[in-house]
């Protein structure tokens, strides 16, 4: 703390002890600071363990520097019964050192709680996860219910819908996602064609390529690729946007000003998704089939794009197109609702924002695939 302290800092810290009349005399030498105590800690603890005494008398005459860490180590010499601690005495100390020692003595008395791990933690965590899953499902359904209430209310007064916000979200959710969705769908169409080409050619059924690509892309892949990208891109963005607003109390401010959080935040995003999803799906279908056509042309002999398209329009009826398209707005709605709900569930901490964003994407993907399976059962039952 003073100029001398620095010039002496080269001196190695040390201590000497003796016991007289059940009193420990501890002479402290050199600097006792964070930088120097490492070597002393274990040694002092060991030496103290073998001595038998009650009171402690410290001699700070030769002490050159003391900080909280040094004081803490020294205070370990103070013996305590469960009720109280035996007194300690200081000689050759400064006022600041006395305060430090008193603080250190107080701190070493009260033991702070520790976190213990139990063997059954695994079971506890599994139970908690199951409970959370159930609660999340119920919460999601409840949120969906509220959403529909607000939606119906808004539909009755359409001029109150924030159309500007809807259009802005459509640009982000729909237009900006179009290139990536089309690219991915193109690859999916190409992959299906490649896989089918081998299998069908082995049975001399190459001429059925258009049906394979058409059914797969129109009924399933276009809309699922669209939903996956939407969940990864827009759903996470919704959660992060709304979650950050929640963290900064913007949502509370909106509430107090009298703006409905559903009307202002959820409805525009949901409408944007519901409108964008079919358009994106349509684009995905086009590029998926294009991918199939090109691969078929390259990989399968005797099937020109012209033949492909002729057979395609003959065999792939419009109902397959509608099966795919019918799912798109539903997926869009699911994704928007889950994204918004998770965003609104964010609490104060940064960690909860991250957790909610992850959860949002996982739940959205889970829900999309699950609902897709339900659709498959439904369409099978009605025979389309």
């Amino acid at each position: 703390m003073s100029a001398e302290a620095i010039t002496d800092s080269m001196v190695v810290p040390d201590f000497q002890m003796r016991v007289e009349d059940r009193r420990l005399y501890l002479t402290v030498l050199g600097p006792w600071t964070l930088a120097t105590i490492k070597s002393l800690d274990a040694r002092l603890a060991k030496d103290l363990n073998i001595e038998d005494y009650q009171d402690v008398s410290y001699d700070f005459e030769s002490l050159t520097d003391l900080d909280t860490a040094g004081a803490y180590i020294l205070a370990r010499a103070i013996r305590c019964t469960p009720e109280e601690c035996y007194p300690f005495h200081l000689t050759g100390n400064s006022q600041g050192q006395k305060i430090l020692m008193r603080e250190a003595a107080d701190a070493s008395m009260g033991r702070a709680p520790t976190e213990a791990r139990q063997w059954f933690d695994v079971l506890v965590r599994m139970g908690e996860a199951s409970e959370r899953f159930l609660k999340e499902t119920i919460d999601n359904l409840a949120f969906l219910g509220v959403f529909f209430m607000v939606m119906i209310r808004q539909m009755l007064t359409p001029h109150k819908i924030r159309w500007k916000s809807v259009v802005a979200h459509i640009e982000d959710v729909g237009l900006n996602a179009a290139p990536i969705i089309m690219t991915l769908s193109f690859f999916i169409g190409a992959v299906i064609a490649y896989m089918g080409a081998n299998m069908l050619a082995a049975n001399n059924l190459q001429f059925m390529m258009p049906e394979l690509v058409g059914f797969a892309v129109l009924r399933e892949f276009a809309v699922v690729v669209m939903a996956v990208i939407l969940a990864g891109r827009s759903d996470s963005a919704f959660t992060a946007q709304i979650g950050a607003m929640k963290m900064r109390q913007e949502i509370d401010a909106m509430q107090v000003i009298g703006m409905d959080r559903y009307e202002a935040l959820v409805i525009p995003r949901a409408l944007a998704c519901i409108i964008s999803a079919p358009i994106l799906t349509f684009l995905a279908m086009i590029s998926g089939i294009l991918g199939g056509v090109i691969v078929t042309w390259i990989a399968v002999e005797g099937i020109s794009p012209r033949f492909f398209m002729e057979r395609f329009s003959e065999m792939v009826t419009l109902q397959h197109f509608w099966v795919g398209m019918a799912k798109a707005p539903v997926f869009g709605l699911i994704i928007a609702v889950i994204g918004c709900r998770q965003g609104l569930a964010v609490t104060g901490s940064v960690e909860s924002l991250g957790k909610r964003t992850t959860q949002s994407v996982v739940q959205a993907l889970f829900a999309v695939i699950f609902v897709d399976a339900l659709f498959a059962v439904f369409f099978y039952q009605i025979g389309v």
């Binding site: 964070l34 600041g96 609490t347």
Partner: protein, 264 residues
């Protein structure tokens, strides 16, 4: 690096700071004496936080020099700057605790980074700091989001003190605290200075804090430090901003309260 603690802990000479064309500081001179508590006041947007960030090394000065214990910052090597940072602690306005860690883990961060002590000892030292800033022992395992505003400030202070700094920067330490919490925090700062031999620079608008614990007060107006002196002398300064600041009803109330406390 050898540090001469007899020199002034912080000295700023001819500092200029600017963002684009907007000049925040010009020919600013400033000194913090060893062991003192210096209060820095100035209107909103006068550049107090910019000055503090410059002193912390978060912002490079656009002109002029910053000295710590007589050493010019710009002439120091990267390593020396690091060891300088270790003798500085800072309490940011909102506490700036890492929200994904418990209070104890927050305080252990500087120890983990800069010492090679055994982890149990680090934990005990962190608990001691928690005790020193007046937090209850069970606060150690809480997360910052579980703490009240006042407790968060105390936890932030405990982290700032983790490495036993010589120099402590406080950005509005009592803002957002109730008067009882604020005066308890003031007392805590006084006690810690006594115990740890700290030099403290604090930005504050709390007139009670200025009156009760600051040894000297610096006024930042018109892009430079107009005066650094004891409070009675600062209040005599003719600058209109100073007159308005200390002549307002809030200031008069604080002065009267201070006199009353002195008499009793």
């Amino acid at each position: 690096m050898e540090i001469d603690f007899s020199k002034a802990p912080v000295e700023v000479k001819n500092l200029r700071s600017q963002f684009g064309d907007n000049i925040v500081h010009e020919s600013l001179d400033f000194q913090v004496g060893s062991g003192e508590i210096l209060g820095l006041v100035g209107g909103s947007g006068s550049g107090k936080t910019v000055l503090m960030n410059t002193l912390l090394g978060l912002k490079e000065p656009d002109g002029g020099d910053v000295f710590y214990f007589g050493q010019n910052r710009s002439s120091l090597s990267y390593k020396d700057r690091q060891s300088l940072n270790n003798i500085m602690g800072v309490l940011f306005q909102g506490g700036a605790l890492f929200s994904s860690m418990t209070v104890r883990q927050n305080i252990m961060i500087p120890l983990r980074e800069h010492t090679d002590l055994p982890v149990p000892l680090m934990r005990e030292l962190a608990d001691m700091k928690i005790h020193m800033v007046g937090l209850p022992a069970h606060a150690a395992t809480l997360y910052p989001s579980d703490l009240s505003g006042g407790m968060r400030k105390r936890a932030g202070l405990a982290r700032a003190l983790a490495l036993d700094p010589k120099l402590l920067f406080l950005d509005e330490p009592t803002a957002g605290l109730d008067p009882i919490g604020a005066s308890a925090f003031d007392q805590l700062i006084l006690d810690l200075r006594e115990a740890m031999g700290l030099t403290i620079l604090m930005i504050t608008h709390d007139l009670d804090t200025l009156f009760t614990i600051c040894d000297r007060v610096s006024v930042l107006v018109d892009k430079h430090i107009a005066i650094t002196d004891t409070l009675p002398n600062v209040m005599k300064h003719p600058h209109p901003w100073v007159q308005e600041y200390f002549g307002g009803p809030r200031a008069r109330a604080a002065i009267n309260a201070g006199d009353g406390a002195g008499a009793s």
